[in-house]
């Protein structure tokens, strides 16, 4: 098969259809929503942060692997390079949320409401970090810096294809990656605090950024596995073998455990210390979202742990696709659990005792009476919105993938990547 991915019109139509479905779901959500449009804005933020994070993590993976002199992934590294390009779309999609923090047309963040802050000591104390200016810096400037590095990295990688096989571009990428990594490590924490943790404006956890980042990382690996299996099925990457898949499986396995480790560390310390301001976060989630709360652990830990423990399951496309699919859905649900309860609480606070869907839902949450789709569990509109954003992500991905050769032919590690297989009895095919 040739070295260039062809983005067929059939795929385009399909993905555009997915995006239309997403837009339709967003529009229905907006029209049937309460006066603050809580459901609409939480769904929007949920998916934008989730997919932008996956894109960011693919840049993180590329940089970390390059710094570590890893060679096994080089054959398909253009997949990750194409995934990083979604970051600019994520930046643009974050702009309405940023504008809303200034103009107040959404109420995602309690700290963005001046009246609430005026009567709230905790929010006043945090206002040096939780304010519209820092939110704008985190959402626009930091993501722009990430994109700058991702873009420079990709440009250098593409320039290497035209070069004469010298190591100049590889050295350039190494420099870019080693500057990017420390910046990414610290700035991603700030972005996660602003975008997601500050929804529960009174609450904080020092582990949150790692836990959230691990969720992104696992999702990025899982989506890579699905995309590679798909691309191979289409006839591209014909030299991709079971050992490449095996290593991706190890990452999925290891980082699922890492995610669980962080989730539990955060939970246990708060549970043990039993300080009211901290415990309320988990109490809300356990008592009002019991099914999702335990489902989250079940499908993000137990399934990858037990299915991927044996080495032969990591070498089969079927089991890997199954686990990767489950895990992506699982981490999407994890984000649902991070975002919805806090936003619901904020909406309740801001609306007082007014009667609306969200206020009722918030009351219901406190009185354990009614359960509402879109707030207590992902409804059909949430799933449709997710499919819409997923289609957008894939559209940007395939579009970028088609713009460059699939194989970086002058990368010094390409030979190592092609030689990445082990002897019988293991087979290369999957």
């Amino acid at each position: 098969m040739d070295n260039t991915f062809k983005f067929e019109s059939k795929q385009k139509t399909f993905l555009l259809g997915g995006m239309a479905l997403g837009l339709l779901c967003l529009a229905i959500t907006f029209l049937t929503d309460d006066s603050l449009h809580t459901r609409f804005w939480t769904n929007y933020l949920h998916n934008v942060t989730f997919f932008t994070g996956i894109s960011f993590m693919s840049m993180f993976i590329l940089s970390a692997f390059l710094i570590a002199w890893a060679g096994w992934y080089t054959y398909f590294k253009r997949v990750w390079e194409a995934m990083t390009q979604f970051m600019i779309v994520g930046l643009v999609l974050m702009l309405p949320v940023v504008a809303g923090v200034w103009l107040g047309f959404h109420r995602l963040y309690h700290w963005a409401d001046a009246d609430s802050v005026a009567g709230d000591e905790i929010l006043q104390w945090k206002s040096s970090f939780l304010n519209p200016t820092t939110f704008t810096i985190a959402s626009v400037l930091i993501v722009a810096i990430w994109y700058f590095f991702a873009n420079a990295f990709r440009k250098s990688s593409l320039a290497e294809d035209q070069g004469d096989g010298s190591y100049d571009q590889n050295k350039r990428q190494t420099v870019l990656a080693s500057i990017f990594l420390p910046i990414a490590g610290f700035s991603s924490a700030a972005v996660i605090w602003q975008w997601i943790m500050s929804i529960d404006a009174h609450w904080y956890s020092t582990l949150f950024a790692w836990y959230c980042g691990a969720s992104w990382f696992v999702s990025a690996i899982a989506i890579t596995i699905l995309l590679l299996i798909y691309l191979r099925g289409k006839g591209y990457y014909s030299d991709l073998n079971a050992s490449h898949l095996h290593d991706l499986g190890k990452y999925l396995f290891a980082f699922s455990i890492f995610w669980t480790y962080l989730w539990f560390s955060q939970f246990m310390l708060i549970w043990y210390a039993n300080v009211g301001e901290e415990t309320v976060y988990f109490q809300t989630r356990r008592d009002e979202y019991p099914a999702l709360f335990f489902l989250n652990l079940g499908i993000n830990f137990l399934i990858p742990f037990f299915v991927l423990m044996r080495n032969d399951t990591k070498r089969k496309a079927g089991t890997m696709a199954f686990v990767a699919g489950i895990v992506i859905l699982g981490h999407w649900i994890d984000y649902f659990l991070m975002i919805k309860p806090g936003a619901l609480h904020t909406a309740h606070e801001l609306m007082g005792h007014a009667h609306s869907a969200t206020a009722d839902a918030a009351h219901a949450g406190e009185h354990h009476s009614t359960i509402l789709a879109g707030f207590h569990y992902p409804g059909l509109l949430e799933l449709g919105t997710m499919l819409g954003f997923l289609s957008l992500f894939l559209y940007v991905f395939f579009n970028q993938l088609a713009k460059a050769p699939l194989i970086a032919k002058n990368d010094p590690y390409l030979e190592e990547s092609l030689a990445h297989h082990i002897e019988p009895p293991y087979t290369d095919t999957f």
Partner: protein, 179 residues
């Protein structure tokens, strides 16, 4: 004491694992009976060439780990609900989250120690066991293909030496090993 016949070993020393693998393939083609192969590190593809089946150590490891999980969890459950119930920080007696770290540690401990001990027993190794070493350089940078030549005639031994040199062995040596 019954007299034991020492094992007479003829072996070729190789400098590189790729040459070693090729030499083993040659030996199999020539239907030579290899006694053993020594290497300072695991060589990819060596086990299937020698016809060794996959190690079952990891299955034992899983079982040891599961025993560790159960031991820790059930012991703590028994202590804190039956034997000596105590209240910590206002938590119920049976507080599962607080058992998790110790359960995890004992899982790792049982799996690790169990696998090391199993490995030692199966291979006849461990502290205090004095194994004869064919050639000390196998712990450094040399690879060895060894043949047991007690029943070989001088002519056969000569042919074998030539075979080893011919497949890239840098040295061909013989040694008496305790049986």
């Amino acid at each position: 004491m019954a007299a034991t016949v020492n094992k007479e070993v003829l072996y070729g020393v190789y400098d590189d694992e790729e040459i070693l693998l090729d030499a083993i393939k040659e030996a199999k083609r020539a239907h030579l009976e290899i006694w053993d192969v020594f290497s300072p590190f695991p060589v990819h593809g060596l086990d299937p060439l020698l016809g060794l089946s996959e190690s079952r150590l990891h299955i034992a490891g899983f079982i040891y780990g599961a025993i560790g999980t159960l031991t820790a969890f059930l012991f703590m459950t028994w202590v804190f609900t039956r034997d000596w119930p105590m209240i910590f920080g206002g938590k119920p007696y049976w507080s599962v989250p607080s058992f998790i770290p110790i359960t995890f540690e004992l899982t790792v401990l049982f799996a690790a120690v169990g696998m090391v001990v199993s490995f030692y027993i199966v291979n006849g190794q461990g502290p205090g066991v004095n194994n004869a070493i064919l050639d000390e350089r196998i712990t450094d940078d040399k690879f060895i293909i060894a043949f047991s030549v007690n029943n070989y005639s001088e002519e056969e031994k000569e042919k074998l030496s030539q075979f080893l040199s011919g497949t890239g062995a840098s040295e061909v040596l013989t040694k008496e090993m305790p049986a």
